[in-house]
């Protein structure tokens, strides 16, 4: 247990970012020592520590972090980095409740093979967030117990939060296009 930083004032300004850039590198090195291919890169931006994980070894990274103390999966969400490749990102926001440390694990997958291992075994609360990422971005979580759409109708086609998905919206029936617009009632 490292010494507590002087956080007695509870001021956000004085609180140093945890983990800081050095500790992030140490954590990444620790993970690389265990599995050389697990961590591809690190990113420390505006006080937020991010590990860029290899999607094939994301379970190893998350498991190691979990045993390190990051026991709470605060959020699991997706992102589409179009036009950068690999396009899809899956972000795991982890929280160490005892030291109040936050770390982000990011795994990037291609849209051709949007597959990644499910973390439901490690974090049972990931079940619904993973369904949502599947619903919106089409990322298939291998080993998920019940991978169905969660928000959109089950017969919906496409993954609406991808950048190449049209914003869409049904044409609205007004008086001037009442006769020509399709989908008029009856």
């Amino acid at each position: 247990m490292r010494p507590e930083p002087s956080r007695s004032t509870c001021s956000a300004k004085e609180t140093p970012p945890v983990p800081d850039a050095t500790e992030l590198e140490l954590t990444a090195q620790e993970l690389r020592d265990a599995n050389a291919e697990s961590v591809l890169d690190t990113d420390f931006h505006r006080g937020r520590a991010t590990l860029i994980a290899n999607p094939e070894h994301v379970l190893v990274v998350l498991g190691a972090l979990r045993s390190k103390g990051y026991t709470f999966l605060a959020s699991l969400h997706g992102c589409d980095y179009y036009p950068h490749e690999p396009r899809l990102g899956i972000l795991y926001e982890l929280l160490d409740m005892r030291r109040v440390d936050r770390i982000t694990v990011k795994a990037r997958v291609h849209t051709d093979t949007p597959r990644i291992a499910s973390t439901v075994e490690l974090f049972p609360g990931a079940e619904f967030p993973e369904r949502e990422v599947y619903d919106m971005f089409g990322v298939v979580f291998d080993g998920h117990p019940d991978l169905r759409r969660i928000l959109m109708p089950e017969d919906y086609e496409g993954f609406p939060q991808r950048r190449d998905f049209p914003i869409g919206g049904e044409p609205v029936l007004f008086t001037y296009n009442d006769e020509t617009s399709y989908g008029k009632w009856q």
């Binding site: 928000l151 109708p153 919206g169 009632w185």
Partner: protein, 224 residues
Amino acid sequence: MEVKREKLDAPGAPTDFRSRQLLARDMLRGDLEGEALQRYVEERVMTTTMDKAVAWSRGNSLYPLTFGLACCAIEMMSIVAARMDIARFGFEAFRASPRQADLLILSGRVSIKMAPVIRRIYDQMLEPKWAISMGACCSSMGVFNNYALVPSDKFMPIDVHVPGCPPRPEALAHGILRLRDKIQGHRTEGWRERYDAVGTEEVIGDEAGTVAINVFGEGDTAGA
């Protein structure tokens, strides 16, 4: 049908209010006879057509369905509260079952997942029934115009559109009063005329053996 209201102490108003009261008391006692009874009854009978009387009572007792979709529902709830007090017009009885309601207020955005549910609720309501599309979202999808929404005209007939984002309670009350006008007076403005759906009303059949016309048979849930 016209209801005439007069102040008792206004000029030209009937001044023999007390004598009328006494007359009514006599009638209830059974003291009035012959000519006096005849005159009493004629003074108090009002003639109208059945359609007008029914429309008058329908328009003044709309029961909305307890059904809220989004932020517009908050405004819809406040029309029954003290400031708007829609009970003045007889619309305050929000029913919890579509079988007891005859007005569906679509208050908020309708997603493509919700649309079949709403259509089913609307189909479960008994004739005569009306629908109000409240707010920009369910009329023209407003600021939420995206892949997930559908305008309400696409899947069910709407009688009155109330614009706004969200409409103030006054606007919704105005919409309901417009609907009352439509029910009571201008019958041809209804959705059946606009959608060429005259003759699709669910009615009880008059021949022996036919239960109803335009009603789905037992076990056939396609329309419900």
